[in-house]
């Protein structure tokens, strides 16, 4: 098979090269392919003991600061992206915006990037007031053509971040930490196909599982444990938490049900959930690094003066 790769197409032979050159080229291609397959086999299980793991740590040590610096140059890019991505929405909102124009202009002048960040941090504290949160910025995002939904954040073991910690932002659940190094951590978003989160319907407290569908908008599938329970459009879903608060802490909002389809031939139904967090727009996130300051349950005292 490799024979064909090295020989020039017939009729196009202008500088076919000496046989020695062709042999060398083919040898290099074979070597490179073999090296790739060796890597794939060595790392196939992606376990912690994989020989590629030291390489990943070294790469994170090099690319963490680089990506962090690259992200700093992001404000102008952010504006540019908004211009590309939101043209449609902006058109629809144009009239309303014109009415608010004067107010917005004044606000715009006094609002800068840092203030946006501070506001996001405020909202983060409101979502999870009882947990110890380590704030972090997203410094790297994987492209959709690789089908993985992961991001890099600029907090690592030095900041107390460990694998299997919950990551959230002001809107709700973002994902969980899967891999950490000294200064960076990789977060698996809930929209990834490998991600499954226990979710509870806000309205009926019914339990179920939320798994990623792997599409760009990050929409999720929701399957209930109790087959007779009927999710409704507009129902909200929060996490029900894992034992020891890892990987997910309870009570973090996940999303809202947009469509419900009864399962064909079996009991139960599948609901599609729109997450509260837009996976393409996450910037400042928080990692839950500590338990609540005290258990989130109050004491119910007996009613005084009764009987």
């Amino acid at each position: 098979m490799l024979k064909d790769l090295g020989t020039p197409a017939k009729g196009l032979v202008r500088s076919a090269g000496l046989p020695r050159e062709i042999r060398r080229r083919r040898a290099i291609l074979t070597l490179v392919i073999l090296a790739s397959f060796t890597l794939i086999v060595l790392d196939a299980r992606r376990s912690a003991g994989s020989p590629v793991e030291p390489l990943r740590h070294a790469a994170a040590a090099v690319f963490g600061p680089l990506e962090s610096a690259g992200t700093s140059a992001r404000q102008p890019v952010d504006n540019l992206r908004d211009r590309f991505a939101e043209v449609d929405r902006l058109k629809a909102e144009n009239e309303k915006l014109q009415a608010d124009n004067e107010k917005l202009t004044t606000e715009l002048r006094s609002t800068d990037y840092a203030r946006n960040r501070a506001a996001e941090l405020d909202r983060l504290l409101k979502v999870a007031p009882t947990y110890t949160i380590t704030p972090a910025r997203v410094i790297g995002i994987g492209g959709a053509q690789s089908f993985n939904h992961t991001v890099t954040i600029d907090a690592g073991t030095a900041d107390g971040v460990r694998p299997d910690m919950t990551v959230l932002n002001g809107d709700g659940l973002v994902g969980r930490v899967v891999r950490t190094t000294q200064g960076t951590a990789t977060v698996l978003l809930i929209g990834d196909r490998e991600s499954t989160v226990g979710g509870r319907l806000n309205s009926t407290m019914a339990l179920g599982f939320v798994s990623g569908r792997g599409d760009v908008a990050g929409s999720l599938d929701y399957k209930l444990v109790d087959l007779r329970a009927r999710p409704k459009v507009g129902d909200r879903i929060v996490t029900w938490g894992s034992s020891g608060n890892a990987p997910y802490v309870p009570g973090v909002p996940i999303g809202e049900i947009t469509t419900v389809t009864p399962n064909q031939g079996t009991l139960g139904s599948t609901a599609v959930v729109k997450p509260f967090v837009d996976p393409t727009r996450i910037d400042l996130v928080g990692v839950v690094t500590g338990p609540p300051a005290r258990p989130p349950r109050g004491i119910v005292p007996p009613e005084k003066g009764g009987g």
Partner: protein, 177 residues
């Protein structure tokens, strides 16, 4: 001269990986980012031939595999980009009597995008990676290829121009515009 060329190529790949993971996702079209590393690999292949293309592709792909936020089996992008770089080098050699024109470069980029994505997703399927979704593949490949051609308009002339400055005089005749 050779070591200088290798250093320049390495710097190109480092910058490409950094920019692709940190800045370009902000400019994603429907979630698909520009494969800057792939474009640089194609440019190196076009500038220096198949051997360079394959080795640069392997190195750049390996960086993509291990640099955060990658969370897939290492070696998949390395294999994909090595093949893409090799093919780009072959195209340069076939057309070496005359320079590869802008159309040729664009077609090379589209071909390389298709080859690299197919190889990347096929290896993922072989490893039972649940995130590979062949139903979505066509759309993503289309967007990706189009976006890559746009990126290549800027990047490839830059890489070719820089690499040409580090080329021995006896080879100047063969180098692209």
């Amino acid at each position: 001269m050779t070591s200088l060329r290798i250093a320049v190529a390495a710097v190109f790949l480092l910058i490409a990986v950094t920019v692709q993971t940190s800045v370009l996702p902000q400019l994603a079209v429907a979630g698909v980012t520009c494969d800057l590393v792939m474009i640089v690999v194609v440019a190196l292949g076009l500038a220096r031939g198949s051997e360079w293309g394959a080795i640069a592709g392997f190195a750049g792909g390996l960086l993509l595999d291990i640099a955060p936020p990658a969370d897939h089996t290492a070696g998949r992008w390395a294999l994909a980009l090595a093949l893409a770089g090799y093919i780009a080098g072959m195209i340069r050699r076939e057309a070496s009597a005359g320079p590869v024109g802008p159309l040729g470069v664009a077609l090379t980029v589209v071909l390389a995008a298709a080859v690299s994505l197919v190889v990347y997703c096929a290896t993922g399927s072989l490893l039972h990676d649940p995130s590979v979704d062949w139903g979505e593949f066509g759309v993503r490949l289309g967007i990706s290829a189009g976006y890559d051609v746009v990126g290549a308009i800027v990047v490839i002339p830059l890489v070719l121009w820089v690499m040409r400055r580090f080329v021995p005089v006896r080879e100047r005749r063969r180098v692209l515009p």
